[in-house]
Symmetry: C2
Subunit: 436 residues, 2 copies
């Protein structure tokens, strides 16, 4: 089935959606049977956009998008209140499904939009309004649909989390960290909206509405930003075992809600304490599941585009053949052992005499395995029956096949007691990159 | 709309599903319009089950469930291959939707089931087969539907993660930690299936099928458990900045997959390194989003029941009015300031002379605010213009209202320079508990 998309707004997120669909449309069709096509892009910078999008129709009047009978789904990515509100309301009234990332509009002024969507036969998706690439609205609406949610706590703004991380790690002042965030593109030239907590406020308002199934007045939320956080506070927090994070916090207590945004001390072993730099995370606590956390990039062109496309697909999902993946006739091809590369930890128990390390490292060298570090201490093992000492070697990246052969040889040395213990190291987020 | 459910198997998860529906059916109806009703429970222990489920029909022959014309959705929770496979296949052929938690069956022997589901008009849900309460299959199928997934890494088995955490924290041997896990109910009397990695193997096989949209032969997965992990390895790992976790790892490299389960060294600052005890987590890495992580309880009656009910609702979702929550006419009631309780961090700059701490603590005492710790050091602030010293106080739980009034009073002392900085502490997973 073809889904014709009208994309209104071709800024950071809009161009990300274009990239994603160009790159992954075949994959999406293979998974879902849906053929996503951008029929029209609407942006006031028509000439600039035309250069980027090839043969796609580019116009500058959004009314021509929302009245186009062939367009199924209108994607509003211009942000702000006007004309975004009119675009969304009129699209819904015209029978278009709508996908938006406009958290400000939905949180501050969404009543009319949600009512219009509810009364219409159209659907409204706004996954992209909170948490970029992490599916936090989907998880709330469907994953936790059977649970009573009593708490939502989130690190919902990447700019402020980046600034606080820099202040903590590098001892920067707030002003220096903000400057660094601006230089790296994690903060706007006018950062007020982020650093004063309004962005996080919009997001916690939306999550609260969904979690508790009731209206939330944005003006009722107490919001405090990070501008007053001082380097001293970060040091004292660390000394007492805490980190300071800007949190959106929402609790349902009996029949009352408590929703707020403020800097908070989190114990260092709290699962949200390790969310660093521009990453975001949301924790839901429910009566059935305990804590459930989502973690990912909260903003950016491609992560947010992923959320937009997730909504487009879900809205068209009546036609989605869920288990297409599993009924696919494609068998997997398996990576051969020679192509499997790892760093290895190896531990062996050997006699405590000269020349042994040289023999072992000689075997590793023969198989092109390079040693990253060695630990050999002047202590005996805890095994009182053994006179041997433990020798620990960490290798650089090595081929699994060669590693196994070298271990076989080392196991055969008569000065090695028992067999070598070895454990693979998983130390990059994406070791697969090495192959590409 | 009524959804009539036939529940086959009333063990841990089955009784959890019963609990959840009894407790939250009204909430689910309010959210989705769906009225979930357990019409029949099938279990061989009919007399025991009857005592628990009141007026619900209890039978012992599953054939009577799958041929019942009134039943819409069959929930298979008996596990194992036979008769679970027949229950699922015949239910699908009879036009029933099927929800199952049976990872072993789907991973080892699922071809026929996925094909039967794919050819039928029925739907098959298996969110509960991986990761209990965290919606990791939903996130893969819908949240990341627009992305090319190249890596799936998960801590997928709670038993082994609990054992490794105990070995690390308390210096227990593997055998002692296993015994502790058995005593606490986190490990079976026969733990082979968990500790040898087969459970994690089934889960990474299923996630790989969905992530890469192709068949995976369970027998092709290399599986290694944690029985060889020694206390020494855990100590050396820590010394080198790593923790040892049992990981399910799956990578798509070019056109080839590499799927395996083995203990691995993870750097301590890796986002999965802080997943402790019986918790599970899954990390997906995609071309559009970078890393996306889900974290939660991977097993247990209620978390798994949440996943089962999520599937039941999703399967019936054509009728779900997505934005019912937002068009609800319920306004939120807001928690008043007197009911807002926190621990507070406060920092002030004061003159360095006797009696000051006594005056400040006197104000706090007047407002029933008790002090947890004080830091006052013999150092001057970094501000060269000030002769004052920083005084840091951490309070016990206090009422926000009283705290604000006490800070007003403290700000008025002439020995306090500027104003008191204060930051709320968010140190429980669910501070809301205090109110209940």
């Amino acid at each position: 089935m073809i889904v014709n998309i009208g994309l209104i707004g071709f800024g950071t997120v809009g161009s990300g959606v274009y990239d994603l669909i160009m790159q992954n449309a075949c994959l999406i069709k293979e998974r879902t049977g849906l053929d996503l096509r951008i029929k029209t892009v609407c942006d006031i910078r028509t000439e600039d956009v035309k250069k980027k999008v090839g043969s796609i129709n580019v116009i500058n009047d959004w009314r021509d998008v929302i009245t186009d009978k062939e367009i199924d789904t209108v994607v509003e990515l211009i942000g702000g209140i006007s004309p975004a509100k009119s675009i969304i309301l009129e699209s819904l009234k015209n029978g278009k499904n709508v996908v938006t990332a406009n958290k400000k509009l939905l949180a501050e002024d969404g009543d009319e939009i949600f009512n219009t969507a509810g009364m219409s036969n159209s659907k409204l998706g706004f996954e992209a309004s909170v948490g970029g690439g992490m599916p936090c609205i989907l998880s709330l609406k469907y994953g936790l649909v059977g649970t009573r949610i009593n708490t939502v706590i989130g690190i919902l703004n990447g700019t402020t989390n980046y600034i606080l991380t820099k202040m903590e790690d590098e001892g920067l002042t707030f002003e220096m960290a903000l400057k660094d965030a601006q230089d790296k593109g994690f903060a706007e030239a006018d950062p007020t909206f982020d650093i004063e907590g309004f962005d996080a406020g919009h997001k916690i308002a939306l999550l609260s509405m969904l979690a508790y199934n009731r209206k939330v007045d944005f003006k009722s939320i107490s919001i405090d930003g990070i501008t007053k956080i001082n380097q001293l506070d970060i040091e004292y927090a660390k000394e007492m075992g805490y980190v300071i994070k800007l949190l959106g916090i929402s609790k349902l207590i009996g029949d009352e809600v408590d929703i707020r945004v403020h800097p908070a001390m989190l114990p260092m072993d709290h699962p949200l304490a390790s969310v660093r730099n521009e990453f975001n995370a949301v924790m839901y606590i429910t009566d059935m599941t305990g804590p459930v956390i989502l973690y990912g990039k909260g903003a950016g062109n491609h992560p947010t585009a992923s959320a937009v496309v997730s909504d487009i697909v879900q809205i068209a999902r009546d036609t989605v053949k869920d288990d297409k993946a599993l009924t696919a006739s494609i068998d997997s091809k398996y990576l051969s052992s020679e192509k499997r590369l790892f760093r290895f930890y190896m531990r062996l128990s050997t006699e405590d005499r000269p020349g042994i390390l040289s023999k072992i490292s000689g075997v590793l060298a023969k198989y092109d395995i390079s040693i990253a570090s060695v630990i050999q201490k002047e202590i005996h093992t805890k095994n009182p029956d053994s006179k041997n000492v433990p020798l620990v070697i960490m290798t650089h990246v090595a081929c699994e096949d060669k590693m196994l052969r070298s271990i076989d040889e080392i196991n055969n040395f008569n000065f090695v007691e028992g067999k070598v213990t070895f454990i693979k190291v998983e130390d990059s987020l994406s070791l697969g990159d090495e192959y590409e």
